[in-house]
């Protein structure tokens, strides 16, 4: 625990950035190396403020780019310390090369990612294109939909990634501005409780352990690379067990329960929206409105995007008749990723719902409750007729003539 304890109230009014910064402070991180970028800047600024005021015992390293930030994180993690950083969008894109180093070298690092659109055109607002960019990087990906969740999941991230059966880096996503800059009530853990929950850092093959000299970041060619990637994937897949355990432990200290797949009113749902980020909460309000009209609407959101809760998702959607998969990222020449994930999960199961793909909210375009209700109404039509009434992929909320693809 940091020597200087911060006196915080049991309920604070924090935005997502402050919530993440406080979690980083309470986790007693040894090294934070960061290069601030909108909209994650205040996470780093707040943390630097804590550091300047003596609340952080660890090092805060200013670097010349995000590539350098993640490189410093990799170095510090390989040396044997607890490490974290924060970024968004272009900064995340610049980190990509080193993200693969971090996961391949099996270094637990926490990355607070405040989701933002990727240029061009340049845009500082929230969408999920940066989240999608990191999908295959071998990091555990968790998604926070509110400042409270950003706080909670950032605390959990250390315990998950550092677990001896996992040893993988963890991204904690939150929506740019919608979560990162919206102040809400956040129920806190005091410093001591948070410290006890996260626990001490356990070193594995630390370079600063001179009793066991070790080299990190080696080259393997066709004779070992495949085995190492297989081992890495096996660890990522097996992390589901640890994630469940950590979420259960967190519930014990906080009373707040997280699931790898979050669901709302799915027990009897006939139509469902699958979405990520703040849309999960908006869709709940829309679902309630639809239920008042007699339409059995539900919402599903992967809390953990990687490892993907494929089996849980398939089980949840077995009795659903029509599904809209909502992708907040330009799909780049095919269906959205969430559509592919959902259809892939369902394909080897008895369920044959009508599934459509909604592209929405790019560059921070608002997704309203009214629009979500319209989507539910379309789903209801699909469910009643047992077939798709519109195109497979539709752009919703874009100005101009209707834009849809795969119309047959």
């Amino acid at each position: 625990m940091n020597k200087k304890i911060m006196d915080i109230d049991s309920v604070e009014v924090w935005d997502g950035n402050m919530a993440a910064a406080q979690a980083l402070r309470q986790a007693d991180v040894d090294v934070v190396a960061a290069y601030p970028i909108t909209p994650s800047t205040p996470t780093v600024e707040n943390y630097a403020g804590f550091h300047a005021n003596g609340y952080v015992d660890g090092e805060f390293v200013m670097v010349e780019s995000e590539h350098a930030a993640m490189s410093a994180c990799v170095g510090a993690a390989a040396a044997g310390g607890r490490v974290a950083t924060a970024t968004s969008s272009q900064g995340f894109a610049l980190m990509i090369e080193v993200l693969y180093q971090a996961s391949g070298m099996r270094l637990p690092i926490t990355l607070v990612q405040v989701n933002r659109a990727l240029a061009a055109p340049l845009n500082v607002n929230g969408d999920h294109s940066d989240m999608y960019l990191g999908r295959d990087s071998g990091w555990i990906n968790t998604c926070a939909f509110s400042p409270q969740e950003a706080y909670d999941l950032t605390l959990c991230s250390f315990k998950i990634g550092e677990h001896l059966d996992v040893r993988l880096p963890v991204i904690v996503n939150q929506d740019g501005f919608m979560t990162s800059h919206t102040a809400q009530n956040v129920i806190t853990l005091d410093d001591e409780t948070a410290d006890k929950f996260v626990g001490p850092y356990k070193q594995v093959n630390a370079m600063l352990d001179f009793s066991k000299p070790v080299t990190h970041g080696v080259q393997t060619e066709e004779n070992w690379h495949f085995e190492h990637k297989a081992k890495q994937h096996a660890a990522l897949m097996a992390s589901t067990k640890v994630i469940d355990e950590v979420f259960a432990e967190f519930e014990k200290v906080s009373g707040r329960k997280y699931n790898r797949l979050e669901t709302y009113k799915m027990e009897d749902a006939e139509v469902a929206i699958v979405a990520l980020g703040t849309t999960y909460e908006s869709a709940q309000l829309a679902a309630d409105k639809m239920r008042a009209q007699g339409i059995k609407a539900g919402v599903v959101a992967p809390r953990v995007l990687r490892p993907f809760p494929l089996e849980e998702l398939a089980a949840t959607l077995q009795n659903v008749k029509a599904i809209a998969c909502m992708d907040r990222s330009a799909p780049g020449g095919t269906v959205g990723a969430l559509y592919n994930e959902v259809c892939g999960a369902l394909f080897n199961t008895p369920a044959r719902p009508v599934v459509s793909n909604i592209i929405y909210g790019l560059g921070g375009r608002d997704m309203t409750i009214a629009t979500l209700c319209e989507i539910y109404a379309e789903l209801d039509k699909d469910a009643k007729s047992g077939k798709r009434n519109g195109a497979l992929q539709r752009f919703v909320g874009v100005r101009g003539p209707e834009l849809s693809f795969y119309n047959k």
Binding site: L107, N205, F210, V214, H228
Partner: protein
């Protein structure tokens, strides 16, 4: 530590993150005080790997001319000059890459290290040594 060779290991047996250990066992002594031939190198230490096939030209050492100044030992970027008790012993051809730096820094006249084509035998190379050059 496992006695199984890394070459026989499946994905489940490898060290995570492809981290490679330098030595067998725990180092609770000063490695610098143990001669390389007495160290317990791990199988994954590059000391145990033969990389001499990268070389096209090799340095050949002429012990008759050498003054044991240690320049070559100091400058070799691949620790491939073997020296004991400040005496030049020879070249580690398993690791020497043939860069020629040792030849460049050798101060004797003629040089005590010279580059020869890889396929020429050392005994033969020693018969082709140049004469001392007269300075202006």
């Amino acid at each position: 530590m496992s006695t199984k060779s890394i070459k026989e290991m499946g994905w489940d047996e490898l060290v995570i993150g492809a981290a490679v250990y330098s030595f067998e066992g725990t180092i609770n002594y000063n490695v610098a005080e143990v001669l390389p031939e007495d160290r317990h190198y791990a199988e994954t230490n590059s000391k145990m790997a033969y990389v001499g096939d990268w070389r096209v030209f090799k340095p050949v050492w002429n012990s008759e001319l050498c003054i044991d100044c240690q320049n070559c030992w100091l400058y070799c970027p691949d620790t491939s000059i073997i020296s004991r008790d400040k005496k030049m012993v020879g070249v580690d051809y398993d690791h020497c890459k043939g860069c020629g730096i040792c030849v460049e820094v050798c101060p004797t006249n003629p040089k005590s290290l010279l580059m020869f084509a890889e396929q020429i035998k050392n005994e033969e190379a020693l018969t082709q040594w140049p004469e001392k050059t007269k300075g202006e």
